[in-house]
């Protein structure tokens, strides 16, 4: 050991003077905020980090924005970026390097460049958008068909937000008296918890997705800052793939959030969402009214048409009817009825007889045919006896006088020619 040992203070004091003498009074620095706390007296304490591309922390330092500076820097930053300084944000800050014997190494922030953060946010936002597009989910919620009548509305909002109250009032007091059913799924709508909280609410609605028609994410009344959660990748991813159409009324005045971009329909405020839903009902109402009107007209037309047709038929029939029918149409009708009865009874009776005949013919047909053959044989025999040729053959003859058969000899005088028909020919002779 060459020298006397130093006290801790002596050593750190040397470090302090090295830092003081060798570092310039200020540097512009780019870093990511990993932690941020504002204490009761308004001082802002941060932890700044730099990450490797793979994510490992490459450098880390404590930093401070003293209350007197923070009071000016904060509004300046928020006016430009419309978001407040928060963890996860990339910032460009002007720092001086400090070393204190008790508090150690820290960076004292004296100025900030909001446009850098804005650029970083835009870049980050674009990266998320590109990722959602490349994953093929960006347009998924937009591709869902909006129900014609969104009656059952699942609402994601903070239950105490003014915007939620406005939304509910607008719907329940709509001037037409339409009936909506809303169910609040409460969620934290700003800050770091918002992402997980809104996703949890979506998950709860997902369990009842066959009951609800539509999901509404609304926020209103809070500050315009703290909206960066709506640019979050996982929230957007969940909205994209949600099975029901999602409507947003988050209340961005200027640029759209990613949640707005991927939602089925983006509206500016909760009130605008309510108006949109009422508008849909109104449209449906008009449709029903028009249908009702068209229906009445069409049916009336159809009935009139049929009436006209009947009238034309009547005109054609009238003369014919007058000519052919007796005035006593009533008696005619009665006769008609009676006639019909008679005919029916007769048909019934005759068909019974006919049936019996058919049966009997079936049974007796052979007997009947035999009997007829026998009769024919007898007839043939009889015919043979009566045949004049056969009689002539037996020796009988017929005598004709003047072409007529002679039956009485007294009918002729002497010396007349008579003809005699024999079996084998004619014989002419003269009477004496």
């Amino acid at each position: 050991m060459e020298n006397q040992p130093l006290s801790l203070h002596e050593l750190l004091d040397q470090v302090k003077s090295v830092v003081k003498n060798n570092m310039s009074s200020g540097y512009w620095l780019v870093a990511e905020i990993s932690e941020l706390k504002i204490n009761y007296s308004g001082h802002c304490y941060l932890e700044l980090i730099e990450k490797e591309p793979a994510g490992a922390i490459k450098a880390k330092a404590r930093a401070t924005i003293w209350a007197s500076v923070f009071r000016m820097l904060q509004p300046y930053f928020e006016t430009t970026t419309r978001t407040s300084l928060s963890a996860g944000m990339k910032v460009m800050v002007r720092v001086s390097v400090e070393f204190h014997e008790v508090y150690g190494f820290s960076l004292n922030i004296t100025d900030i460049e909001p446009s850098f953060t804005l650029g970083e946010m835009a870049k980050q936002k674009q990266e998320i958008i590109n990722r959602l597009i490349s994953e093929g989910v960006f347009e998924m919620n937009k591709a869902l068909v909006l129900p014609t009548l969104p009656r059952k509305v699942a609402v994601i909002s903070s239950g105490t937000a003014a915007g939620y109250g406005d939304f509910e009032n607008q719907l329940s007091n709509n001037p037409y008296g339409y009936k909506f059913y809303t169910k609040l799924f409460p969620a934290v709508m700003q800050g770091e918890e918002a992402e997980a909280s809104i996703i949890a609410a979506l998950d709860k609605i997902y369990e009842k997705d066959d009951f609800f028609d539509i999901v509404v994410i609304i926020r209103g009344g809070g500050s315009q800052s703290e909206l960066s959660c709506f640019n979050n990748y996982w929230l957007a991813y969940n909205i994209c793939q949600f099975p029901l159409p999602v409507l947003t009324g988050i209340g961005h005045e200027q640029d759209e959030s990613i949640a707005d971009m991927v939602a089925h329909t983006k509206l500016k405020t909760p009130t605008a969402v309510a108006e949109f839903l009422i508008g849909m009902f109104h449209e449906a109402d008009n449709t029903v009214n028009q249908l009702s009107l068209a229906f009445t007209e069409t049916v009336t037309d159809r009935v009139e048409e049929e009436k006209a047709r009947l009238y034309r038929i009547w005109l054609l029939l009238k003369p014919v009817i007058k000519e052919n029918l007796s005035d006593n149409a009533g008696s005619l009708r009665m006769q008609g009825v009676r006639l019909q009865g008679c005919v029916e009874r007769r048909i019934l009776k005759e068909s019974g007889v006919l049936n019996r005949w058919v049966d009997r013919v079936g049974e007796d047909s052979r007997k009947l045919i035999n009997r007829m053959i026998h009769a024919l044989e007898i007839l043939e025999q009889k015919t043979q006896y009566l045949d004049p040729f056969i009689i002539l053959k037996r020796g009988y003859s017929v005598t004709y006088y003047n072409g007529k058969a002679l039956k009485d000899p007294a009918a002729i005088a002497g010396n007349e020619i008579i003809e005699t028909r024999l079996a084998e020919g004619m014989l002419k002779s003269k009477t004496i």
Binding site: P147, T148, L149, R151, K152, G177, Y178, K179, Y181, K183, L184, F185, P186, K204, K208, F211, F281, A284, D285, T287, V288, L291, S292, A294, F295, T298, V299, R302, V303, E306
Partner: protein
């Protein structure tokens, strides 16, 4: 046809179909009366969906309330 299960959209398209049948003369005059009755019931159903409270829906919402939100 189960009327309870019929959605607004289905009811509207049913009415349109009946209307079309009457307009084009596809429908027999004998059917007209029953179809008119059917259509007016459908129109009533549509109007009901716009304006009236459905007990079934309120019951389900109440049940959801029971299961809690957090």
């Amino acid at each position: 046809m189960n009327k309870k299960a019929l959605s607004y959209t289905e009811a509207v398209s049913n009415i349109e179909e009946i209307l079309h049948q009457i307009e084009t003369g596809e429908m027999d005059i004998d059917e007209l009366a029953s179809k008119v009755k059917q259509a007016s019931e459908l129109l009533k159903l549509c109007k009901g969906k716009l304006f009236e409270t459905e007990k079934e829906i309120e019951k389900i919402l109440k049940e959801m309330e029971g299961t809690g939100n957090d």
